[in-house]
Amino acid sequence: MIKVENLVKHYGDVQALRSINFEVHDGEIIGFLGANGAGKSTTLKIMTSFIAPTSGNVYVDNLNILEHSLAIRKRVGYLPELNPLYGEMKVYDLLEFTAKIRGIEGKSFKKAFSRVVDQCGLEGVIHRPIADCSKGYKQRIGLATAIIHDPKILILDEPVSGLDPNQIVEIRELIKHLGQEKMVVISSHILQEIEVTVDRIIIIHQGKIVADGTSQELMSGFHGKVQLTLEIKNATEESIKALPEKVADITLLNESKVNDHVALALEYPKEKDPREALFQYALASNWVILEMTPHRAQLEDIFRMLTIEGGADA
């Protein structure tokens, strides 16, 4: 288990982290979400011992990064943001070097090597200089170096940023597969990139955690209203005007005419569902319903609200 406790980090006068607390359990994939500059990378850099916190600590099992940095680094695989690699090095040489530092040599290196080449799909580029590989390959090479020692903890800083949609799907699948037996922390500033991969989402804003939970939990805890688009035919003005009185909980937001259709924008509280009453009313008024689509608050909206408006209670 990883336990991040009261992390605070100042860069000069800038307060990058203001007290970060969270836990990661075995076999859990955590999505670390926030706008650029929110403090995601800083948190991950502290967790990997690249930088030290101003105060606070990170515990891995019974070790902590201030006293047992080396022991923790042995258990962690890390892919930094922007995935820095030595361009002139060959893929094989880089993996061999990383493995050597990790204490994997000889037979066990051969085994580990064929495992990561297989998992990351590197067969075609093994003897190529890294600089000659495409961005997608580079990302997989970075990932391969991070998992060569089969770490218990995998920390990936924006692993899919800048990849094309197909590559994103590939990396996602790989991360999901790895996450079955490891603790994985992935950061991103784009929700859709990680939404489907992760078990739990932590949203960070201006150095503070503003939300922590599964996507279901985040959405159900969100106080909002559901908007409903209703497109109808054969409706009279009066019957539309009367709608809010006849059907409970519904507010009429907008009304627009397209040929002989009328499109209505309606709204109702999240916990109520007046669609059945609406249908009965339409039937009674002789409307023909062409479309009825509710728009639930998406995770995206929650993210935007939390990180733009400075953190409503989620």
């Binding site: 860069y11 850099k45 990997t48 011992s49 690249f50 930088i51 030290a52 080396l70 022991a71 680094r73 042995k74 962690v76 890390y78 930094p80 922007l82 820095p84 690699l85 030595y86 002139e88 090095m89 040489d93 070097f97 990383t98 050597k100 530092i101 990790r102 204490g103 170096t145």
Partner: protein
Amino acid sequence: MHNIKAIYAKELRSYFNSPMAYIFLVFFVLFNGYFFTNTFFLIDQSDLRSLFNVVPLVYLFFIPVITMGLIAREKNLGTIEVLSTLPIKDHELVLGKYFSAITLILAGLGFSLVHFFTLVAVGTNIDYGAVLCGYLGLAIVGAFYAAIGIFASSITENQVVAFIISVVIVLVFFLMDKLLIFVPSSIAGLIQFLSVEYHLSNISRGVIDSRNLIYFGSMIWLFLILTVRLVEARKWR
């Protein structure tokens, strides 16, 4: 030790994967060869003194070139983040890199042995002890300048800046005893003791005094410690 070896092998490979090592070796040998043969046949003496005089000059610019990228380049590429989150101690990182630079310098000196073979072929009454001491002196000074170079490389992420800083520091140590006439006599002794030339000339003459070895040893140690501290400093920024 294991980690130092791994870093060392990686650095050495990176020297030889880029044109750096080849350019260094070729020009190092060319420069020294030119200046050596220029005078060797004129002065008509069976020694390598003209070589031993020119190599420290060539070092001035050549060693900063091979050390400038050692740490600055890792910072510039961002690979320092990968390296320092691996289970390696910072001093292992610095030492592995430092030894790789020393190896390249020793390789350069090794190629200059061709002049020694010339000497054996054409000379008479060769003082082998003097040759050995001369080479020992060059190796030690090379190690000193490399320590300055890696220190300069850890200050910045810009290799050109690292180059300039190390040339300046090396130049200060190199020129110190030439400036003795400008300093008050009370500190002249100290300045002289700090200069490279003073200690190198002793070793080259065959007088291997512990004071000279302690000077070089502690200077190398000082610059390496400073380098390790600077590498560590990223944590506390």
